[in-house]
């Protein structure tokens, strides 16, 4: 019987920013410790960037907005009272910044989509999706990506945000309600409406199985 040897987890010193708990990092960052804040940025950069990117469908905009969100969060750290987690608070800043940006940019969509990584072709969900039994079988992966983004951009900002946070990023209804400062019922109804809309938009090109 063979045992799968997993790589040992790196030992992290609790005195270095990498080994610290989020609360300690936030306390140090509030006192102006940029090394601590750098660690916080590293912990959340991918999620924040991804959320903004899926909302804007543009890499350059996502880069600017994600960076500005982190900078604004640092400047506003003194007003962070710890009522919610730092992560939720940071998300709220990014979401508000993105929605404001999109309102100003209204009707000026220009896609500069990120490439789909090579793992996508091996993703069992996508393999199943582009198989013969689904309406998407005749569409290539890149084209599917483009159509999907076009459909997403047709949704209103709050509806798109709910879909991105729930269906793309896998956040719970509770978390989304806290991030978007609304109740769970609103999140659920927005999600249902947004999915209906998306299905309608994508049905235009999808061929029946």
């Amino acid at each position: 019987m063979s045992m799968i040897m997993s790589e040992p987890a790196p030992i992290q010193d609790a005195n270095t920013p990498a080994g610290m708990l989020e609360g300690d990092l936030v306390k140090r960052a509030r006192r102006g410790d940029l090394a601590a804040y750098d660690e916080l940025v590293q912990r959340y950069q991918q999620r924040i960037y991804a959320t903004v990117y899926h909302m804007t469908a543009n890499h350059e905009d996502a880069n600017d907005l994600a960076q500005e969100s982190f900078i604004k969060a640092f400047q506003a750290l003194k007003s962070f009272r710890g009522g919610s987690s730092f992560y939720t608070w940071l998300y709220r800043i990014a979401v508000n910044k993105t929605i404001n940006f999109l309102k100003q940019r209204k009707n000026k969509h220009h896609f500069s989509l990120n490439d789909i990584d090579f793992n996508a072709e091996n993703d069992p969900d996508l393999v199943a999706l582009t198989s013969d039994k689904t309406p998407f079988r005749a569409v290539g992966l890149t084209e599917l990506q483009k159509k999907l983004n076009e459909a997403l951009m047709r949704l209103s900002e709050p509806h798109r945000m709910v879909v991105v946070l729930h269906d793309v990023q896998g956040q719970s209804h509770d978390e989304i309600a806290e991030i978007m400062d609304c109740n769970i019922g609103t999140v659920r109804s927005r999600l249902f409406y947004a999915r209906q809309q998306l299905q309608g938009y994508l049905a235009e090109y999808a061929k029946p199985a």
């Binding site: 940025v41 950069q45 990117y53 900078i71 400047q75 309102k103 100003q104 789909i116 969900d125 299905q199």
Partner: protein, 170 residues
């Protein structure tokens, strides 16, 4: 909700495709460094613009101003409200001014003793004016101005009284 979820199975699978959209390789290696260097640059040079400072210090004002950006119709409504407010303030103040002037004005032909306001305000002054010739007025400069005859005829209704220094007889 589960039934609803089942209706969207394919859509949810499709949306998972988004997870495979990734930024250029090595992008996140520099990301946090860029953020901290921008923070340092901002702190060192005090490069925060007025808008940035306003946003950090008075966020409610900025969100109020953003309403104007997103809903142009609100600008018109707000401007109309401001104009109406301004007009009503001007009208109100001019009315108040007029009323005050009316209340304060004393016709030049009316004598002081005939004015009910004056008699209520300073009855002693009225009495003095009657006897000594001082003209009472609401004007503080002229109210106690003595008439020209005050010193000319010291004996007649003068404010002065002759003082006598008699030597007591022993």
């Amino acid at each position: 909700m589960n039934e609803n979820d089942n209706n969207f199975t394919e859509l949810k699978q499709l949306l998972k495709l988004k997870r495979h959209e990734v930024p250029p390789p090595g992008y996140f290696e520099n990301f946090s460094g860029q953020v901290t260097s921008r923070i340092r640059a901002g702190e060192a040079g005090g490069q925060r613009t007025f808008a940035e400072r306003l946003e950090a210090e008075v966020p409610w004002a900025v969100s109020f101003l953003r309403i104007f950006e997103t809903r142009p119709g609100v600008i018109g409504a707000f401007a109309t409200c401001v104009c109406l407010l301004l007009v009503s303030v001007v009208v109100h103040s001019s009315r108040a001014d007029k009323a005050a002037r009316l209340a304060m004005s004393i016709p030049s032909s009316t004598s002081v003793s005939g004015s009910p306001m004056a008699s209520m305000a300073a009855p002693a002054l009225m009495a003095a004016s009657d006897s000594s010739g001082i003209i009472a007025s609401t004007n503080p400069v002229t109210s106690l101005e003595p008439v020209s005859t005050l010193f000319a005829q010291p004996g007649s209704g003068s404010l002065f009284q002759p003082a006598g220094f008699g030597v007591p007889a022993h």
